[in-house]
């Protein structure tokens, strides 16, 4: 009976979402306070029912209720409880439910923290969130019911895809969805602003912390996914430019642009239309990702099993939400140039260029991702667009961003000072050159590695110089407001990331080797000794487990245990062994016995030496931290109530007139 309750809860949630979206919109339009007052309780009610549905599905997994089709398809009696929880979002239906749950988490947070916003504006924002929920609830109820029954009930279920049975994969989807869905807040703010007209200019300041937090979560989700692909798949790579990866990367790029555009709009009043457009794009690309992953229009390693009906539903939803908001943008976007003027040499200019490059990079990724489809449409034959294409164009497009990054903070709003720039330029050039020369000797003239060191030093020195300038010039306590500290952390993260990518890509060593027990292989100064293979058992798998001892300078460094697992339902899964380090990872994956079936004999192994690869994720985590710190800035807190904000609006209006 409980699964039916889950479905009932979803239907009730849909009804409440309808109330949450339609009534407050009418109320805001007509000035009817009673209708506007529906928004908050309806949102809270919807959240309760969605949480209930989610809890019921999780409960069904925990007590092995195989009469629920989704549970029978994605778990079995031997699956440990933590993976049974993760299995809730292990396939299409449940992951959609997670999406909706997270949307409700964001909505409830918005309801709680928007008490001090002007009532009309807040009810519009909550209503837009409600509209999104309506679409997704209808989607899950009409095409992807996770509570469908399987009768007669089987004695045991199938299995959760073994690829997903990993801690990294357990956290990856919730984090990613926190990011995707989080952009809906910025989206709702800008739609509410468009609906309300230009009056509510202050919305940008209210939207900023939400955007930063969403972007931080998205960063975390992508880092978790990339880390998982690296550690789990045994291929040693961390990014493949697969359509599904790109689907998460495009909102990230646009989100990065949006964060900077919002700063300009909030502080200077410029770029207002662009900020609105970016808010729409960031969320639209999140929706697009959902479409690409679930519709089957693109071939990907990670896609869910596809169904054209679902594709059509999401496409229709996408058309209404994105098409509608872009149409609204075309009709209502601010036409007058607002904000303060700026000189060619100014922080605004640098941020504009950065925004341009992020936007073009996102467009390039979109074009490359969709080009196989365009090829089908124009009858050009089947075309593959992969890492060589993106790997060539993306660094080119990001080079200006890296080059300009140190200068942004040093430039003043409105008008920058050339002498400051010159001394800064001199210092970063000297630092980057010096480090590049030292690096050239260390890496044997490997150009990519040298460029990596130079670029990383360029960014890092720029960031540190600015931090030092603040330290020198400002009194204690006023040196690093949270917003600036976040910016510095995130920019530092870019430097660390760039170093990690270029160094690990240029200096990695991969070897496929045949090793008999007792034999050794050398990579650099590391000796890998193969000590044979034995059997190992887990809760729901059996494995051949290799023992590889790593020796350096005659000292035993570590013992690694790469596995080849066979899960309950026969799926084979490589489980690589990683010895992590700050300056390098050692990585071993186990292949097959060289003579079929002879586990005592020689085996095929893959050995990797990956210098600085961890810096890639460390850089990502720094960026995430930066986003979160930034969002904590005091300025973003709505302390003084809407009255003060109205004052801010008025002053912005004055500035507009002035311009």
């Amino acid at each position: 009976m409980t699964p039916e309750l889950g479905q009932l809860a979803l239907i009730l949630a849909l009804l409440l979402a309808l109330a949450q979206s339609i009534l407050p919109l009418i109320g805001a339009w007509r000035g009817n306070r009673a209708l506007m007052a529906v928004a908050r309780p309806a949102a809270a009610g919807q959240a309760v029912f969605v949480a209930m549905a989610f809890g019921i599905l999780a409960w069904a997994f925990l007590r092995f209720d195989f009469s629920v089709q989704y549970v029978a398809d994605n778990s079995n009696l031997a699956l440990p409880w933590y993976y049974r929880i993760a299995a809730v979002w292990g396939a299409h239906e449940g992951s959609l439910l997670l999406w909706i749950l997270i949307l409700n988490v964001w909505t409830v947070a918005l309801v709680a923290f928007s008490q001090k916003l002007p009532e009309v504006f807040a009810s519009r924002v909550i209503a837009v969130m409600g509209l999104i929920a309506v679409g997704f609830l209808a989607f899950i109820i009409f095409t992807s019911n996770p509570f469908g029954r399987l009768l007669p009930m089987p004695g045991d279920g199938a299995d959760l895809n073994p690829v997903l049975q990993d801690p990294g994969m357990t956290f990856h989807p919730p984090m990613l969805y926190m990011g995707y869905v989080g952009f809906s807040v910025a989206f709702a703010f800008s739609i509410a602003a468009l609906l309300g007209g230009e009056l509510e200019q202050a919305w940008v300041r209210w939207a900023r912390p939400w955007t930063n937090i969403a972007w931080a979560f998205l960063t975390c989700g992508i880092v978790a996914g990339s880390w998982w692909a690296y550690a789990e798949l045994g291929w040693g790579g961390w990014w493949f430019w697969d359509p599904v990866e790109n689907a998460s990367f495009m909102p990230w790029l646009v989100g990065a642009a949006l964060i900077h555009a919002q700063a300009v709009t909030e502080k200077r009043g410029s770029l207002r239309a662009w900020t609105i457009l970016l808010s729409i794009f960031a969320f639209s690309l999140s929706l697009l990702g959902t479409f690409l992953v679930r519709s089957g229009v693109l071939t990907s390693v990670h896609a869910f099993a596809s169904d054209p009906r679902r594709g059509i539903f999401i496409l229709a939803f996408l058309t209404i939400v994105v098409g509608g908001s872009l149409l609204l943008y075309a009709l209502r976007a601010p036409r007058v140039l607002g904000g303060k003027p700026f000189k060619v040499v100014s922080r605004e200019t640098v941020l504009l260029i950065g925004n341009l490059m992020f936007a073009v990079a996102a467009a390039m990724v979109l074009l490359g991702t969709l080009f196989p489809l365009i090829g089908d449409a124009l009858n050009l034959g089947r075309i593959s667009v992969g890492p060589p294409y993106f790997g060539f164009l993306f660094p080119l497009l990001m080079a200006p961003v890296v080059l300009l990054l140190p200068f942004g903070p040093f430039l003043r709003w409105g008008k920058g000072e050339a002498p400051v720039l010159k001394s800064l330029l001199l210092r970063v050039v000297i630092a980057a050159l010096a480090c590049a020369i030292v690096a050239a000797f260390l890496v044997d003239g490997n150009l990519k590695a040298i460029v990596g060191v130079a670029a990383a030093v360029w960014i890092t020195v720029g960031v540190l110089l600015y931090a030092y300038k603040r330290w020198r010039e400002m009194p204690r306590g006023r040196r690093y407001p949270a917003e600036m500290a976040g910016m510095l952390l995130a920019h530092l993260g870019v430097g660390v990331f760039v170093a990690g990518v270029l160094l690990s890509e240029s200096l990695s060593v991969t070897r496929d080797v045949r090793m008999a027990p007792g034999e050794s292989q050398h990579i650099g100064s590391y000796e890998f000794r193969f000590d044979g293979v034995h059997r190992a058992n887990g809760p729901n798998w059996k494995a051949d487990q290799g023992v590889v001892t790593v020796i350096r300078d005659g000292r035993e460094l570590t013992v690694m245990h790469p596995q080849k697992r066979t899960y309950l339902r026969g799926q084979v899964q490589t489980e690589s062994a990683v010895d992590a380090g700050v300056t390098r990872d050692l990585y071993v994956a186990l292949g097959e016995p060289m003579d079929a079936g002879n586990v005592e004999g020689a085996w095929a192994l893959r050995l990797y030496y990956k210098p600085f690869v961890r810096w890639i994720w460390a850089g990502g985590l720094l960026m995430m931290l930066g986003g979160l710190v930034c969002a904590a800035d005091k300025r973003f807190r709505l302390k003084r109530g809407a009255g003060a904000e109205a004052g801010a609006i008025a002053s912005l209006r004055v500035q507009e007139n002035h311009a």
Binding site: F281, G296, P308, T319, L326, L373, D376, A377
Partner: protein
């Protein structure tokens, strides 16, 4: 007008996605059209499955059109295709040549003994080397080759009654009309 550009761009995308959904209902996303269509079939020289001492070459088969059907005992979809081939084979009007792909001969013989043998001739490519020349990347795949040894039609995946009626038979008819 400028303000409408994002909307117009997005609508183009929607059109593309709509096309993608439609296209996927009509095409197997895993099928790659062969560049060998209407080109001479690659030369081969392969042993017969039942008499491995004897080999068959492309030249031996010239003069008569035939359907080269790539199959294997390990291939699940070949089991789906096999009854169709058995039922429709005799009415096709061309010889049926079985191409046993990356299979142990004993397994292949067992499989044929169980499911029946619709093929007039059976050749075996255990190493899978010649198959690369044909652009084979899985099983089942079927090549229609005319009397001059030119590939006239290729199907990737199992031949279903639908595919036979709508694609294979028209292709055979067109080929026979051209060179009776």
């Amino acid at each position: 007008m400028n303000r409408l550009l994002p909307f117009i761009g997005f609508m183009l995308l929607v059109g593309l996605f709509g096309f993608g959904i439609w296209w996927n209902t009509r095409h197997d996303p895993n099928a790659i059209p062969t560049p060998l269509l209407n080109k001479p079939a690659p030369a081969f020289n392969l042993p017969k499955l039942y008499e491995p001492a004897q080999t068959v070459s492309k030249a031996d088969l010239l003069g008569k059109p035939y359907l080269l059907n790539v199959f294997a005992s390990w291939c699940i979809e070949c089991g789906v295709e096999h009854p169709v081939l058995t039922a429709e084979g005799p009415s096709l009007g061309v010889a049926l040549v079985g191409y046993n792909y990356k299979d142990a001969p004993a397994d292949a013989k067992n499989w044929l003994a169980r499911h029946g043998n619709p093929y007039g001739l059976l050749i075996a490519d255990e190493p899978g080397q010649t198959a690369i020349d044909f652009g084979v990347y899985g099983a089942p795949e079927s090549f229609l080759i005319d009397a001059k040894g030119v590939i006239r039609y290729k199907h990737i995946g199992p031949l279903t009654p639908d595919v036979v009626a709508k694609e294979l038979k028209p292709a055979i008819a067109a080929m026979l009309k051209e060179a009776p």
